[in-house]
Amino acid sequence: MTIQILMPALSPTMTEGNLAKWLKKEGDAVKSGDVIAEIETDKATMEVEAADEGRLGKILVQAGTQGVAVNTPIAVLLEEGEDDSALAKAAAPAPAPAPAQAQAASAPAPAAAPAPQAAAAPAPAAQGGGRVFASPLARRLAEQAGLDLKAVKGTGPNGRIVKADIEAAKAGGTAKAAAPQAAAPAPAAAPAAAPAAGAAPKAAGIDAKDLSDKLGMRYKAQPNSSMRKTISRRLTEVQQTVPDYFLAIDCELDALLKVRSDLNARSKDYKLSVNDFIIRAAALTLKKFPNINAAWSEEAILRYDHVDISVAVATPTGLITPIVKKAETKGLAEISNEMKGLAERARDGKLKPEEYQGGTFSISNLGMYGIREFAAIINPPQACIMAVGAGEQRPVVKNGALAIATVMTVSVTVDHRVADGAQGAEFLAAFKKLIEDPLSMLL
């Protein structure tokens, strides 16, 4: 008999979720406890573990599908000895709900296009061809969206442009127009140009909005939230003022995965993720390397007594880094449970300032997206950030022969003013040792 894998309810209140990612492909062998997929709810991203053993016969709901109701069959598992022919006998798959991608389908309405020949930024409505009648709200919305009112058709009394017309024009525009602030390749300006606190740094060089308007490129302006402004200000400052260097190392994960699987089988009070092990290993390593758990100041390098690890969490509004405080004193279960709470509050936008301000070291993990390795930007004023890639099976050479191991590439970006290259390398090597020999984390 084939086994249907159903959309799980990851919390008592969950009614539907998004199938974010499949971690197993059709045909892959699946062991009980294997993480086979990631489900995203409005609150969190969680892993789906296989309850049975077998082979993933067919994926019924593709990755990226939104709004999958709880208990919808999402895949079919073939039991030992069954082959694909058993799939035909399995119950007909429920049709996958249509992905919510309405915005991509709408055809661009000509009315929304800013006149391509316009050489300057959109002229105020009073210029040129007479007065444009628009409600005050419509005027403001058009300004915020970067729309030229002259190009918008009014449906209000006597052709007056009203809110609904601006919304229609916006919806009719090209859905994937780049937000202007994202496009500007801003060459690093002189470090002296560090912007005043609070203000978003002005991109030097080519202004995206100016250029886009000149060329008549269509876009939707997404006003900068205060979070985006903070991210922009801090990271621009780092890129312009911190002399950093980058180191990467491969860590074999098989031993760690086994320990994790064993520990998770023992209790329902925790569910350890690989990331929890990384936090723990980084904390223990940093305790031995106070020169990395540090920050640059003009008078002195500050070496912190405790290891407070900022963990990057993607939220609907942007990046935020809740902190596991005094991580060197915490066990895996404690770290794991604390991190779950922090991540959930981060996604709900409910973190208190003390929960995200003042870490001593950062970890950013993009492994769940299949990223192999990446260079993270330092989270100021910290001296070091660790970037974690995907754990994946790779060919390795062992004793002169090819073998397969689960390998994860971990890199660090380090502030050279605080720690020199050799010190960074020693730190990373020590971290690798802990990851590859996870039992030594007990010592």
Partner: protein, 465 residues
């Protein structure tokens, strides 16, 4: 064969129907209104207008009672209930005559009787069981309105248990009164009888009175009513009525406890039921949803050429909504492009003391809709005119979209706010932002200055508080 053919037959002569008929006449359509009782409908005869007359009597009485606070001497002010009711009936009668005159002036035919749709643009009218005639119409507007809802075990008897009609033509002032339901109708009667000296208890099944209003306004109004001696029970469920000779006992269940409340009279104000019975809807494709006729933005039903407007089509059950829908339906019939009716721009008013008025989204609804809001508040105590009037209890609250400055909602409680809300309604309909409202000059000294201050307060700029 039809006795007579019209371009339009409007069924129901209330504030939806007669306005539709006059607009149709203006656009050159030959029009008839079928009315089974009184032109002007419930609103004019048994609702909005006569209750405003009663509440005005109560207001004058209240002011007389407080005369000494104004340095005036009025000895033992009291009232003659019959004359209060007579005045109210006279006001209704005067306006009923006014509607008759307006229809005549516009050459709208009035057919007295009950209408029934026969399908294919035919309408049969009967009066007291006798046929009046069969009429043909290219278009039909159903504007039959609604009536007070009764619940099993909670039925009116016209003697001890009243609905609005009896409540506005009382032959006695009850010493004690239980009002079941705290929407606008229930609260207005509660306020009226409280002013006349009745010991009033209000039972509301929701967790607050005036449940459609902003939560802060509900709470504020409740406090004021309680200060005036009213008892208010929320989260309360009225059980069956046990009638005595001249009293009624009601078991009211609230917060896990049941209490027997014995009163002289009970007023039922638990909502309304649409009048869709015996209309011959089965002869058409007209669809209903929980009794209300389903219509689109142009007030069209599923039957070609048949429109429906007002209370019979659903909430908000307001005369001014019915009138606007009447105009929309007629303009659509006449091939014009009617204005769209945005429910967020329909104001609602409660004429109790204090008055309550609002338009648009409450703060909570705005947040639930995903808006990041800016909220402004201004208390009556900060307004010179309010203090001069001796009406220092009240507040004006405004809710803006923080991103665009759109006025999402305005909520007011206090003296004369039902006359003030129109300012915000115009602003909302014109799609002003906070800028225009800030730049508008408000006359001093008026209560309307508080509307300005509330907007300023939303942006941290209030002057007088």
């Amino acid at each position: 064969m039809a006795d007579m053919n019209y371009d339009l037959i409007v069924i129901g002569g209330g504030p939806g129907g007669y306005v539709a008929a006059i607009r149709a006449a203006q656009l050159g359509l030959s029009t008839a209104v079928v009315e089974r009782e009184n032109l002007g409908g419930i609103c004019l005869n048994w609702g909005c207008i006569p209750t405003k007359a009663l509440l005005r009597s109560a207001e004058v009485l209240r002011n007389a009672k407080h005369a000494s606070e104004y340095g005036l001497v009025i000895q033992n002010p009291s009232f003659d209930l019959d004359k209060v009711v007579q005045r109210s009936r006279k006001v209704a009668g005067q306006l009923n005559g006014g509607v008759k005159h307006l229809l005549k002036k516009n050459k709208v035919a009035v057919i007295e009787g009950e209408a029934k749709l026969l399908g294919k643009g035919q309408v049969a009218v009967t009066k007291g069981g006798a046929a009046v005639g069969t009429f043909g119409a290219k278009n039909i507007i159903i504007a039959t309105g609604a009536r007070a809802r009764t619940l099993p075990g909670l039925e009116d008897d016209g003697n001890l248990v009243w609905t609005y009609r009896k409540a506005m033509t009382p032959n006695t002032t009850p010493k004690s009164l239980l009002v079941i339901g705290s929407g606008a109708i229930g609260i207005e009667f509660a306020s009226f009888y409280n002013e006349l000296g009745a010991k009033v208890t209000v039972v509301e099944v929701m967790d607050r009175i005036l449940p459609v209003e902003d939560e802060e306004i509900s709470a504020f109004a409740r406090k004021q009513f309680e200060k005036q001696g009213m008892r208010i029970i929320t989260n309360g469920k009225a059980g069956n009525l046990r009638k005595g000779a001249d009293s009624v006992t009601v078991a009211v269940e609230a917060n896990g406890k049941t209490e027997d409340i014995t009163v002289d009279r009970v007023i039922l104000a638990v909502g309304i039921s649409p009048n869709t019975e015996n209309l011959g809807l089965e002869n058409t494709k007209v669809q209903t949803d929980r009794g209300h006729i389903k219509t689109n933005a142009n007030c069209q039903t599923d039957e070609p050429g048949v429109y429906a407007i007002g209370d019979v089509t659903g909430a908000p059950w307001l005369a001014h909504k019915a009138s606007h829908e009447g105009v929309i339906a007629v303009e659509h019939i006449a091939g014009k492009h009617p204005h769209a009716l945005d429910v967020r721009n329909i104001p609602g008013c409660t004429y109790s003391h204090p008055q309550i008025a609002s338009v648009g989204l409450t703060e909570k609804k705005a947040k639930e809709a995903g808006y990041e809001v800016r909220v402004g508040r201004f208390p009556f105590i900060g307004n010179g005119k309010a203090i001069a009037l001796g009406e220092a209890d009240g507040m004006v609250k405004t809710v803006f979209d923080a991103k665009t400055g759109e006025l999402l909602g305005a909520h007011m409680v206090g003296a004369e706010v039902t006359e003030l809300i129109q300012g915000y309604t115009v602003a909302k309909t014109m799609e002003t932002t906070e800028q225009e409202l800030m730049q508008t000059v408000f006359p001093h000294p008026t209560l309307s200055e508080m509307m300005h201050e509330s907007v300023l307060d939303a942006y941290g700029r209030a002057i007088h508080f």
